[in-house]
């Protein structure tokens, strides 16, 4: 089997519920072996999309192919996709062993082959010693591992994960993120991971697809999305951003000059195509802003009043009111801040022309 032959290709997928367009002509290729995260707020259509890929929902239009095979209208049980549900969906009347054995039993494997593969799968998720327990005797994290073992034991074509970590507490979630990454590296299976948690998306995925209102807003490597969000929605949803609005006054090659009232900003155009007279929206990460002290210089400098300051050990998070852009957030390593910033004190904020990103306004 060659690799490209196991790619999942989704073309112009559509789904409506009454007048509501849940999925609006989505096209996406998921490469074999990839860890792909679909990130979106609730109501973005990400779960609908997953259910269509799994075969639980009919499509209103478009096609899905796995390699050369058209799977658009295949029933879920013949797709050979593993699925991990939100809340795990373990069978409460079956033991850990029988839960994991379920996909093999329905495929009518011989019992010694089943036993061998189930043991292997349970070892993979480090649960070999709990095989005879019932699901309700397990902790959330253990149930999660059983669900993973069950979804992978039959060597599925790909693994669909629907917000699998949402029920776990923060510490366990971090552990399971590591575990998922390890499993993904080890078994080399394609993972399609659905979440509304941007940290999960950024830390685990090879590629992130951001969805909103039934369409893909942007996709790319986590660092690409973080550094160069295409729209204000992506800039605000993946990490935090300050938004600066102004009118383009001139364009000199790569360099834009943007005016807001009496303030002039210098900003790199990036991939944006703006003309003088257009309104520009700049997304600026809190960590890209620095404190300007003494006679230090920066491409852009504005004045602000500190309204809140929080210490997080390794860094400070500061909220300040600016004259031109309302509330501004900035974070900086604690080591860089020599003195305490009292609430109400005046500060100067600065950033370089390449620190911000011109984004499309879609909020």
């Amino acid at each position: 089997m060659n690799t490209t032959n196991r790619d999942l290709r989704v073309t112009n997928l559509e789904k409506s519920f009454g007048d509501f367009r849940a999925i609006n002509r989505i096209s996406l290729t998921i490469r074999a072996g990839e860890f792909l995260t679909i990130l979106g707020p609730s109501g973005s259509g990400k779960t609908t999309f997953l259910n269509m890929v799994a075969g639980f929902l009919d499509t209103d239009g478009g096609t899905m192919t796995l390699g050369d095979r058209d799977i658009t209208h295949l029933p879920p049980e013949t797709r050979d996709f593993g699925m991990v549900f939100q809340g795990y969906a373990l069978f409460p009347h079956l033991s850990v062993f029988d839960n994991v054995a379920f996909p093999l039993k329905v495929r009518k494997w011989s019992s010694d082959k089943i036993a061998r593969h189930v043991e292997e799968a349970l070892d993979l998720v480090q649960l070999g010693n709990l095989r005879d327990r019932m699901p309700k005797q397990l902790s959330g994290g253990q149930q999660q591992r059983v669900a993973l073992a069950r979804a992978m034991v039959f060597r599925p074509n790909l693994l669909l994960l629907d917000e699998p970590l949402s029920a776990l507490d923060k510490k366990l979630r971090a552990e399971m993120q590591e575990e998922l990454k390890r499993l993904h590296r080890k078994v080399g299976l394609t993972f399609i991971y659905i979440t509304h948690d941007q940290d999960e998306a950024l830390s685990m995925s090879d590629r992130v697809v951001v969805m909103r209102n039934g369409v893909i807003v942007q996709q790319g490597r986590p660092d690409e999305l973080y550094k160069t969000p295409r729209t204000s929605f992506v800039a605000g949803f993946l990490g935090r951003s300050n938004f600066l609005r102004g009118d383009v006054v001139s364009l000199d090659g790569e360099k834009l000059t943007i005016r807001n009232g009496d303030l002039t900003l210098r900003q790199h155009a990036g991939t944006a195509t703006l003309q003088p007279g257009d309104t520009a929206l700049i997304a600026l990460r809190p960590e890209a802003v620095s404190l300007i002290e003494g006679d230090a210089q920066a491409d852009n400098v504005i004045e602000a009043t500190v309204s809140d300051s929080n210490y997080f050990g390794s860094n400070f998070s500061i909220t300040a009111e600016t004259d031109h852009f309302g509330t501004f957030e900035l974070t900086m390593p604690a080591a860089q801040l020599s003195h305490d910033l009292a609430v109400g004190s005046r500060i100067r904020l600065g950033w370089s022309a390449s620190a911000g990103v011109i984004v499309e306004d879609d909020e």
């Binding site: 639980f56 879920p76 049980e77 969906a89 379920f102 329905v106």
Partner: protein
Amino acid sequence: MDGFSSQPISPATRTTAWAIIAFLVLPITIVFAVAVTDRDYLAMPVDEISFQHYANLFTSPEWLHSIWQSFVIAFVSTAIAGLLGTLCAIGCWRISNRLSELVRVFMLLPVMVPTIVYALGIYQFFAELRLLDTYLGLIIAHAVTGLPYVVITVSTSLAGFDGKLERAALGLGASMGQTLRLVILPNIMPGVVSGLIFAFIHSWDELVITLFIAGRAVFTLPRRMWDGINEALDPTMAAVAAVLVVITVALLTLELLLRGRAKK
């Protein structure tokens, strides 16, 4: 539960509760006393306690035949009602739209329509079909009137069943049949068993429909008791009644135990 039991109960509440229990239970206990009478008519024991009527019940070919007939009819009609009722409840649960709600309400008709109205209808209908006074006729009638019990109990079980489990099974490669057998049924089994028990009890002591559509060939236990009261006042009936009560109580206890275990 502790919070409830520590509440003081007013004497009025206590008295009413005991009165209701007495009215519910005492008439049933009468039959146990009458069943051991030494007279040959329906009366309380006078001089001594006698088991002759129990002996008569278990040696009389007529009574034994009626018990056997009732059992066969109850068994087969319960099986039919159980199968169809369970499938109907699962179907309605899976489709779960306005039409399926309507179907579910429709299924409850046999318990909502007065039995005598139903019996009259069945009588007219079965006369045409030549099903009067046949096993098949009574089995069909009892299966239909037993259906609501199964539909109600299975639907209740399904209401507590996580629909995600069905999708999980399908997603893991199980066919619809395998999902039904390996996942849905084991999880709603307490509801199915309760339904079966209620349907069985229903058929086992059903009289009105039987009076209408059975004559000489099919002579169920309740029918023979009815005739016994009308004609002979034979105390054997009290013995039969006592046995019926014991069987019913045993079945209901079984149902309670199963439900308790399922909850745990």
